[in-house]
Each structure stands twice: as C-alpha cells, then as structure tokens.
Amino acid sequence: MSAALQSYVATLLIYLGVNSIACWGLNLQFGVSGVMNFAFILFQAMGAYITAVLTLPKATAGSAETYILGWHLPWPLPLVGAGVAGAVLALAVGSFALRPRRRDFQATVMLVVSIIASTLVVSEQGWFNGNQGLFGIPQPFAGSLSLLPAGYDWFFVALTAGVALLVLFATDRFTSSPWGRRLRAMRENADAAESLGTNVRAESLKVYVAGGAIAAISGGVLVEFITSWDPSGWGTGETFIFFVAIIVGGLGNNFGAFLGAFLVLGVFLELPTYLPQLSNSNVEESLQSAAIGVLILAFLWWRPQGIIPERRRKLSRLVPAAAREPAAVESAASVREEKREPTTAVTREPAQAATARSAELSVRDLHREFGGVHAVDGLSFELVPGQATGLIGPNGAGKSTALKLIAGAMPPSGGHVLVDGVDVAGWPAHKVSRLGVIRTFQHTSEFGRLTVLENLLTAAPGQPGDSIGGALLGRRHARPRQLELLEQAWALLADFQLTAHADTYAGQLSGGQRRLVEIMRALMARPRILLLDEPMAGVNPTLRLTIEEHLRRLRDSGLTMLMVEHELGSVERVCDCVIVMAQGKLLATGTMAELRRNEEVVSAYLAG
C-alpha cells in the first residue's frame, strides 16, 4: 500500500471511530432513553474546544491567540477534560431544556441553545477565536514517537480504537444493565415509570450528562487528529446527520449505532468523493445534505426501527429450568409472599394477625380542585391495615382523583395523606412509590417495547446495577439479584397463566392481558399499599374472576389494598370493607350488604 493510501484508510478508520463514539452517545440519549437531543453537536464542539485549549502550548510572543491557557497537557488528560466539560455543559443545558413535558418542545429548546451557542462563539472572539477557530493543535505523542506520517496515522487509529472501545464498553454496560432497562421503560411510558419509582427528570438528566460527556470525548479525539476546529464544523445540520445515522443504523442498540456511523457518516458522505467532480463543491455538499433528508424520510417511512432494530431480550431462557416446574412455581410463590416485607403473613391467617406489620394509610381533609370544580372536597378516611377496601361511588364522585392524589400523580390543593404516619401529600409519584405505595392505571400503561418479563423486572426495587455506577459494574454484579427476580416474575406469570408470553413485547398483547401485566408489575414492586384504579375495566367476566382470586390472595397475605371499582360484584368478592364517595366526600363506609341497606347510599347511586 502506498503511503497516501495508507493515510487515507487510516483517516477513514479514525473518522469511523470518532463517529461511532458520537453515535453511541446519541443512541444512549435518544435510542435508549427517548431524549431528543437536538443540541448534540454542541457537546461535540465543546469537547473539541476544551481539548484544544488544554493541549495547546503557551502562545508565542506576538501571536494573535491570547485565549490559550498554555497548559499543553499530555494525552489522555485533555480528553478527560473534554469529557468533564461536556458533562458540565450537559448538566447546565439539561437542567432547563428537559423541563417541558412535550419532547418536541424539549428538542426545540435544545436546538435554540445550539444556535445561540454557535452565534456567540462566532461573535465573541475572546471565547474560542470566533470564526477562525483554533488551529495548530499538537497531536498526541507526535513529537516523542519518530514515526513517518503514515505510521503516525496508524498509531492514531490505535489511540482512537482504544477510546472507542472504552466508550463502547461503558455504553454497552449501560444499555444491558437494569438501569438501561429503566431508561427504556422511561422512553416507553414516562408516567408509568414515574409511578414505579423512576425519577424521570433526574434520570433524563443523567442520560443527558452521560451522552454529553461521550459526545465531548468524540470531539476531543477528532480535534487531536485534524488539529483545527471552527464553527463551520458544527452547525445544526451536523446534529441532524447524527440522528439520521442512528435512525438508519437502528435505534436502541450499539451495533446499530455503529452501523449507522459506518453507512451514513462513512459510506454515504464519503461516496461523493468518488463521483466525478461537479462544477461546484458547494453544490455537492448541498446535494449530499438534501439526500440525507430524503434518506431519513425513506427510513422513517419504511423502516423506522432502522436496519438493526433493538433486539428483543429473551429473558425467559435465564430462568433456571428447575424453577419452571409447577412444584417449584408453588414454592416460589410462597417464597415470594414471604419475601414481601413487612406486611407478609407467613401463613394464611386472618388479616388481623398481620395488622402490626401492615402499612397504614389515612387521608385527612383532602382537597383537589380543577378550575373551580371540587373534584375532591374534604375527603377523610382511614384504611384498615392489611385489609382490602373498596372505593365506590357514582360517576364524578372523585374516586380516581383521590387515588391519584394519594399516589402522588397530582398534588392536592390541601389536606394530608399519611402513610405509616408520614405525610406524603404533595410528594412526587416516584418518591411516594418508594414507601411502597403502588398504583395501577385506569388505562393500561404497559411498557410497549419491553417484554412482559422486562415489564415485571422494571418494577422491582433494590436491584444492583440500577444506577450509572452500578451499571458499569457489569452483568456479574447484577446477575444474582436478576435471577432471583426472574424466578419470582416467572412464578407470577405462571399464576396468571401468561408464561407463554414471557418474551412477548407487552404492547402486542390483548387488552385483558395487558391489564394482567400491569397488575403483575405492580406486585413485583413489592407494594405495601396497593392502589387499584378500576382493575376490572374492560376485562371480560372470566378474567375478572382470575384477577379477583389473586386479589383475595393478596388480601389474605396482609397487603393493604384500596380498590376503585364500578364492578360492584368484584368489590363484594374481594373487599372486606367499602368506602362510598359522592361529590368528592366520604358518604358512608361498611360492607356491601350494609351499604345496600343504607338509604343515603342507595339514593346517591340513584341520584348520581
């Protein structure tokens, strides 16, 4: 190979490495977690600038560059600096850009930031030398190794590969960990994730920071190779191209991101150099850019999941064969019930025996109004611990709203919610859920593109590997607990007769099955107080009986339950005690039989 060819190939490989790093970072943000970072290029630019500043030696006398620190740090310190800078910038931007709830709004804010930053850098000479940019950046180890230019290029390839592998290692660990699963759940249904303990805003910010650091590192490596950097290299078009790359390659998986980097950033953008030169290089560039736009439309139309779709994680094969036997399932079920502390009753004793360990819930003078309408108007009641209580009442009585207030899905306008004596009124849902208060939703809220087993596993608290740090510790760290949880989840699936669908995407199940997944998922969250919001809604009579049976078993094990239901037959068969609400207030309590004889209650129902 001639030296020139070698150089060329090496350059391609370096670019492939840099682009892969960037794509892995964006994939973590967008593909895995659903954060649409339209300011992505800003972070790569940040990394490049900081690396340049940290690497440049002191300005020589008379030079125009007065901004350099002149530290001339050796490799890999500038890259570390770049990573830190990227993380800090992401923290700053993410803290406000992730506030709006609509993701297209978030994306627009980020786009705006990206443009302001670009404008500012161009106009503020003192920052990074404006439009001229930085140049003359010394390459790592350039002086100390006596290599021919071609040899140096290969050396740099090795350096890039090293960094790329590190980043791949980290992102792979992130995505395949329980934390990664939590992120994917957040992507699928942020509200449900929130109700099961995920602090959506905080986790989004973490992902934003991690991705920002990775993007910055990619910029750092790149700038050390091309030795110069200016605003023309980081317009908003560049962000778009990265998005195209990961969408084409395949969202949610690192191999797809790599493929995207290869195909779009590599092949697609490199190809035109082989075509006969058109009159104007600008035309070529525009043609390319327009073609990229067409490419993304084509993919969004025909293959939105990309060339390599996110793979379905078949966790059922991890469940030990022994655990799948019916006998084992039985014992796992009782083991599962034992493990549920502190409300568990080891035997099926009447609920009273479990009182001491069952969670207490009381509501005092709870209020919630919407634009003048008092949905909940001074509601007060106390649940008997370890019992199942029904919450019934005519339409518009405020039952669902009451449940949401208790669970933290919306803040009350006034009043107190006491869980074991702690006032949780106004707490966000994820915080309330940590106390063991778990709510199911009226409309099914499964994580569509997670399998049934994954749905269940997401809910369980206390999983090693469920944080950034934990994720980096890898599979071995997380595995023991994961296997334990898998056995429990499998036992649940067996109870509900859904083992055949263990590896099916939850979004592909029928309505009734999805309802079951939601209930099982709530159970995996080890609830101490289970709030059920119309669990029988839209469920056919046979399934209803199955669910009732499970709820009775839960009641028997000492779980405190509050169930909003219109199916009064179900309420009668499951609940020991029933609360009637009307007009946002408590109307009466008692057993169903007692309530039927209660004039006021009958009147409320008949009067609406």
Binding site: H566, L568, V601
Partner: protein, 267 residues
C-alpha cells in the same frame, strides 16, 4: 326478568302513530372480538323521552356508541324512522338528523356561547342559521344573557344547556344524551333534567338518554330500560319502574342475571 308492556299502554302520553323514531333490534356490539352488549332491543317513539339506566359497566355507553355509529354493530340493526343506520359512520349519521350531546368535551371552550350554537348549525343553509339560532335561544333564554361568554368559562349546568342548544340547531329527529348530569352538583343537575331537558318534549324531538340519576331521570321520562352486564334486564314505563321495591338492588350490583361464570382458559 323482563317485563315488556308493549309499545303503548292506556294513560301513557299520546305519541305519534307513525313509525318509531328509533328502533334497535337484537343489537350486539363491543370492542375487539367479544361483544360488550348483546341482544338489545330498544324503541324510542316520536316525542318520547327514553332513559337507559344501569350500573357502570352495564354497556350503556357502548349502546350509545353503536347507535351513533362510533362503534360498528356486530349483529342486529339500528333504524331511524325508516332508515337503516346500522352500517353508517358517525359523521354520516349526524347529518341524518341525529343530535348528540357527549358526556365530556361537549363545547368549544374558546368560542363564545353564540358561536357554539352557530357551529351546531354548520350543516344548515346559511340563510336559515340566524333564524334557527333565535328559535333555539327561545328554548333556553338564559343563553341570550351569556351569549358573548366563552364556552370554557361557563358553569357545568350552563355548558350542558349550551351543548343541548347546539345539538338542537339541526332540528334532529333523535337527540342522544350521554349522562348529561355527570359532574354536576345536585341543584344544577336537577334543574337540567326537570327543566331544560323536559322542555324538549314540546319541540317534537325524541330523546334517548343515558343517566345515572335514575330517580330524577325517570321522573321526566316516558319509558326506561335498565341494563346490566351487557343486556337489557328490565324495561317498563318510567313511573312503574321507579316504584319497584327492588330498584336499589338492581343498581347496587345484585341482579338476578349477574351470575359469575366458572373459570375457564384465559383470553
């Protein structure tokens, strides 16, 4: 336990001798594969107010949706006068002189009261709209006072009145109301039923209404149907139905027909 007194009985308010406004026969409908309602027969005669009652989950809103063409019936038929509505879509049915007052989202919040009513007459020839608005305002004079207020700023009772006025713009043969008193406090709910809805009888429109406030609704209705578990379990004249001693049981879930089926394979 189905008592059907046939179409008319002595002492009943005189109704038109012509074909009933609405005839539902053997209707089954639902979401997905299994029907939520089955075997439903229901009639509304010209100028009648017919109420459908029953506990939640009984299939009342499914019935309405099937009549309005939002849900496609799985079997049976729906006829408006002579016209077969069974296969038609909702926007086609509306144009055929069926007015609809939904339970929620029944007004345009940022349009004024007057504009809301005008929109109700969108399909009318433009020259007729003004006159018709006047007629509707005659029906509910209070609306004249709040004519320039925005829909979103009205009280619950006013909004329902507005929604009915809007639906009445096309002089429908059949007006369908889905739980008109839902979310209203007792007083405005009472007023809505006993005053405003009852006032519609004079206009010649036939009413099919789903209601929770059984007593008050039946006080203004001619006949009623009680549904439970997807079927019609009782139908009678409203006054007769209301007098039944076991009416409370029907509503609080204890119906003779509601027997749990034995567990079988899950869906």
């Amino acid at each position: 336990m189905r008592i059907s007194l046939g179409k008319r009985s002595p002492g009943h308010e005189p109704a038109d001798a012509a074909a009933p406004a609405l005839t539902v026969a053997g209707l089954a409908a639902g979401y997905g594969d299994t029907p939520t309602i089955m075997d439903v027969d229901l009639t509304v005669h010209r100028g009648e107010i017919v109420t459908v009652l029953g506990p939640n989950g009984a299939g009342k809103s499914t019935l309405l949706k099937a009549v309005l063409g939002v849900l496609r019936p799985m079997s049976g038929s729906v006829r408006l006068g002579e016209r077969d509505l069974t296969a038609l879509r909702s926007d086609q049915i509306c144009r055929l002189s069926v007015g609809y007052v939904p339970q929620v989202r029944d007004t345009f919040p940022r349009l004024t009261v007057l504009e809301n009513i005008e929109m109700g007459g969108y399909t009318l020839p433009r020259s007729k709209v003004k006159a018709r608005v006047e007629e509707v305002m005659e029906l509910y004079p209070h609306l004249r006072k709040i004519a320039s207020r925005q829909g979103g700023h009205l009280s619950g009772g006013e909004r329902k009145m507005l929604a009915i006025a809007r639906a009445m713009m096309i002089k429908p043969a059949l007006l369908v109301l889905d739980e008109p008193t839902a979310g209203l406090a007792p007083k405005p709910a009472d007023e809505l039923l006993t005053k405003h809805i009852a006032a519609l009888t004079g206009t010649g429109v036939s009413l099919l209404m789903v209601e929770q406030r059984a007593r008050e609704a039946m006080a203004i209705s001619h006949r009623a149907y009680v549904m439970a578990a997807g079927r019609v379990v009782l139908t009678d004249r409203a006054d007769v139905l209301l007098a039944r001693p076991d009416i409370g049981d029907v509503f609080l879930g204890r119906s003779a027909l509601e027997t749990p089926r034995p567990p079988g394979p899950e869906t």
